[in-house]
Symmetry: C2
Subunit: 139 residues, 2 copies
């Protein structure tokens, strides 16, 4: 483990990648999109802090929830500087995304139910095959 000039733990990009299960390539991309910041060493290498680990995980969550880089970048100010003036619009945006996500979840649950129904039907059919009721099972 490394220490920076004032003793803070320094995390390099490879370690951050390993700890978040996000590729190095993607971390650079996040920075390019303004979702992530890094300080640079004299030679130009990215240095992160412990806080970035959680941030990256959160970003990943949002990607998984179907948000785009653009949208995420609109929400993050709200995370970084709660209650600043600019976060007022971000708060609306976040509420909007939350609702979209909620509808999405509902639809997924319905889909899961549909799958469950299909599987139950299929299993029932298989059952009726194994226990033929008098007549020979069809095909």
């Amino acid at each position: 483990m490394w220490r920076g000039s004032r003793g803070e733990a320094v995390v390099r990009i490879g370690e951050l990648a390993a700890r978040t299960d996000v590729s190095v390539r993607s971390l650079r991309y996040y920075e390019e999109q303004g979702l992530l910041t890094s300080s640079r060493s004299a030679s130009g290498q990215r240095h992160y802090t412990e806080a970035e680990v959680e941030r990256v995980r959160f970003i990943q969550r949002l990607y998984t929830a179907g948000l785009s880089s653009r949208t995420i970048s609109e929400l993050l100010p709200c995370v970084d500087a709660p209650s600043e003036g600019n976060s007022d619009a971000a708060l609306d945006r976040m509420a909007q995304e939350r609702d979209r996500l909620s509808e999405y979840i509902d639809e997924l649950v319905r889909t899961r139910d549909a799958l469950d129904g299909l599987m139950a039907t299929a299993r029932a059919h298989r059952e009726s095959l194994r226990t033929p009721t008098g007549t020979r099972p069809r095909r």
Copy 2:
């Protein structure tokens, strides 16, 4: 409304698209991927039946749930011909996808919770601004 040679309602691709909210382009793509079948008129136009409407909606559900064309095509036999021998493997596949979907839902719910938490925090901050506790609110 059209009638086919034996009186079944005939649905053309444009109408199917309108009724399922799926583009004509996508319907042709589904067919290309083996997810959808159509009979053809003498001149080559696609004719669908009422049943296809539901099928397309179901396919859309699965896409929304993150399944790929390939995966969907592996599940559909199970829908079309329940209890056939080939659906045995398809049933496993479906169970597997169901579980994946379930985990996905769980993660989305966690993400939604996280957003709720953030919004609550942000609102609390805003509250504390409107009701300053002694000191002048910053900015």
